[in-house]
C-alpha cells in the first residue's frame, strides 16, 4: 500500500516537473457572457415582484402599474430614493407581510404574509433595493 502511494507521489512529482513548461493558452479576447448576471436571489425577487407587485406598483416600482389607474390613494413610488432611505429592510418586509392596514396605511395594499413565504418577502425586499432610483 505504502509503496503504491510512494509510486504515485513520485510519478506525480515527475509529472509536475514535466508539465511546468506551460503551453501558451489562447486567451479569449471577446467572451460572450450572458447579460448582466443577476444573483439567483435577485432573480427570484424580481420574479415575485413581477408576479404580485407589478400590477399596481409598475415595472420600475414607480407606482404606475396598470391596476393603479383607478386607485385612490395611488400605490407608493417604491423607487423614490427618499422613501428607500427612510425605510429599513425590516420596515419594507413588515409592510409587505401585514399590508397597508397592518402598518397604519391604506388597506388597498393587501397583506402578503400568508401568501408569500418569509424568504420570498426577503427576496422582494432585495429586489426593491436594486430598483433604479430616480
Amino acid at each position: 500500500m505504502k509503496t503504491m502511494r510512494l509510486g504515485v507521489v513520485l510519478a506525480g512529482t515527475l509529472l509536475l516537473g514535466a508539465c511546468s513548461g506551460k503551453p501558451a493558452g489562447k486567451a479569449a479576447a471577446a467572451p460572450a457572457p450572458p447579460p448582466k448576471p443577476m444573483s439567483y436571489e435577485l432573480r427570484l425577487g424580481r420574479a415575485t415582484f413581477q408576479h404580485y407587485c407589478q400590477t399596481c406598483h409598475g415595472e420600475t416600482g414607480a407606482g404606475d402599474g396598470f391596476n393603479a389607474f383607478n386607485l385612490d390613494p395611488k400605490p407608493r413610488d417604491l423607487s423614490d430614493p427618499a422613501f428607500q432611505k427612510k425605510k429599513t429592510d425590516a420596515d419594507l418586509a413588515d409592510a409587505i407581510q401585514r399590508g397597508g392596514a397592518g402598518v397604519g396605511l391604506s388597506a388597498m395594499m393587501p397583506p402578503w404574509g400568508r401568501t408569500l413565504s418569509k424568504e420570498q418577502v426577503e427576496q422582494v425586499v432585495l429586489y426593491l433595493r436594486s430598483l433604479p432610483k430616480h
Binding site: 510512494l6 512529482t13 460572450a32 450572458p34 447579460p35 427570484l44 389607474f69 388597506a107 401568501t115 427576496q123
Partner: protein, 668 residues
Amino acid sequence: MPIRRLFALTSVAFLVVLAISPAKNALRSYRAYQRRFAVLAASRARSAQQARDFEKRPVAIHQIWLPQLDNRVDRCTTCHLGVADAVMKGAPPPFAAHPWTPHTPVRIDRYGCTSCHAGEGPATTESQAHGTAKDAGPPLLPVAYIEAGCGRCHSTATVPAAPLLSRGRAVMDRYGCFACHGARGREAYRSGAPPLSSEPVKTGAVWLRRWLTKPRDVDPNSTMPNFQLGEREIEELANYVLGQDVPEDLARAVRAAGDEPAGDAANGKKLFSESRCISCHTVEGKGQGSAPELSKVASAATRGWLLAYVRDPHAFNPLTPMPQYHFSEADSRDVVAYMEDEFRDFDAPKDILEPLRVNRTLAEAGEKTFRKYGCFSCHGSPGGRTAEKFGPDLDGIGDKKAAFLDFGRRTDLPRTLTAWLAAKVDSPRSFAKGLKMPAYGFNPEETQAVVTALLAFGSQPVPESYRVLPTASPIAIPAGRVGHLVDRYRCLSCHQIGDRGGDISTAPLTFEGSKVQRSWLVDYLVLSYSIRPILTERMPIFHMPREEATELADAIETLFVDPRVPEDPFQGRPASDVDPAEGERLYTALGCRSCHILGSAGGYYGPPLTDSGTRLRPGWTFAWLKGPQRWRADVRCPDYGLTDRDALRLTAYLATLHQPPAAAKGGK
C-alpha cells in the same frame, strides 16, 4: 565505498520523497481557510459558547456523502465552511452562508453541492474542485445558469423558484426545438407549424420568397427561424412548395370561397372585434402575439383561402390552436371583407399573390433542399412526418466536456460548454461552413434562458427518488359530443383543465363546475362578455348555439367539480340572514376594491364583482376566501386568513350582488 554512498543518497532521497505527501497535505489551502474561518466565525458568533465551538473545530476535510444520489461525495464544505451557518450571512467568500433556495441550507444533507453547482465533489483543491485546472473534471456551473441544476431533477415545464429555467423551457417549446432534437420526455412533441399542402392556393411566389428570406421581417410573431438561404435555394423551395398538389377538398373549398360575392366590411369589423382575434393574434403589434400578425394578412393569403380557413381552420391545420367559430356563411364573408379592406400591405407589389409557373427541375431540387434543412421536422412533408429526428439528441448536452466540442471558427470563445452553447443558440452557423441549424434571433435574456434549459439535459437521469415529474391529471376530457365541442372551440388553447391546456386565459376550468352557476355559464357561452376588461386576451364570442352551450355547461357542471367546495355554505338560510352588512364592511376594510370593480369604483386586476351573486356559487366564494392559493397556486388574490365566520359574511354579501350580464356587458 560507492555502495555505501549510494545507500546514503537513496536513503536521503527516500526520506524526502516520503515527506512530500504529508508536506503537501500540510500546505493545502483548505487548512489556511479553516484557520481563517475559525477566527472570522468566532468574531461573528452570537454567543461565547458558539464562538468557542467555532474555534475548537479541528482542521479536517468535511464531506457530504449522498449514497442515494449516485453515491456522490461533496467536499465543498471543506472550504465553504459557512454555507449552513446563519451567522455567516454576507461573509466574504468562501465563508458566506448559502443563499436561500427551496433546498438549502436546510436540506443540504439530501442534495449536497455538486448536484446543482456541478464541479468535482471529491476534490480538495480549488482548481480541481471548480474545474479550472487543465485536467479537472466538470467545471462549476456559472451563476448565470445556476437554475440548470434545478432542471436535472424537475422535469415540469414550470419549475418553482426557477424563473429562468421555466422561461427557457417555454422558449424551447414555442420555437420548436424538439421538432428536430430528441430528448427524454419530449418524444411526443409536435410542432405547431402549419402543413404546407394548401400553400399553392394560399399565397404567391413573391410573398413566399419574402417569407423565406426572413420570416420575422414579414411577421414579427413568427417562430420560424431564419435559414439564411441563398437566392437559388429560395427559388427551389418556392417551386417545390408551390408546385405541390393541393388536397382536393381544400382546393375545392378555397376555389368556391374565392368565387363568393364580397361581404359587408362594416359588419365584419364588428365581428372581428367581438371574436377577440387579438387574444392570440396581433394587429399592428397590439394583441397577445402567439398567433400571426394580421395587419398585412390580405397580402399574404388569397381571399378564397382566408375565407375557407376562417370557416374551418382545422381542415387546413389539425394542430392549430385556433377555434372554429360558429359564423354563418355571410358572417365569415363579412369578416374576410373587413380583413381584405384593412389588413393589406399597401406597399406590396401588385403581383404578390400571383401563382407561380412552376419549374419542375427547380421543384425537384427544392424537394432536396426541403429535406436538407429539415423543413419536414416542423411542417411535415407530403409523405407524412418522419419518425427520426433531424438534429442530434439533446440528452447529455449539459454534461458535454468542453474538449469534445467543435469550436471551429469561433476562436474568440472561451473553451467552455456554456460559452459554446450560448454562441450556438445565438448564431448557430458561426462555427463552420455548411451547418444547417437556423438562426432564431433570440435576445440575450432568451439565449441565457435557453442555455439554462439545455444545461439541464444530463447524460443520466437522476435517481427516481429525486425526480419531480409533471403530475398526470386525473381529470379527463370527455369524448363524444362534448369532447368534440371542447375541440372545436379549442377551449384548451387558452384555458387549463388539470395539467393540460394553454395559459392565455387566467381562468382554469378544472373546478369551473363548482365555481359558477349553470344558468350564468350557459348565457356566458352564448354571449360572452369581458370579465376582465383590462386584459387584451378575452373570451371570444363564438356565436355558439344555445344547445351546444347547454351541453357544455352540463358537462362542466358534472365533471369539473371539486368535493372541497361546499354545496351550500349558508346551510339552507338565505344569504340575507348571514349578516351581509358586516360582509360589506369587511369588503371595504380588507381593501378588496384595490383589485375588484364594484359599480364604478375599484381596480382592474381582479374580476368585477358587480354580478357576483349571479355568476358565482356561494360555496365557491367561501372556499376561495378561505385560501385562494388552494385553487390556483400562483393566483394574486392574497390569503387574508379569514375566519369561517368572516368568510361566510363576505360570501353572503357577494351573493346578494346581482346585475343581469347584459347590463354588465360593455368592455368589448
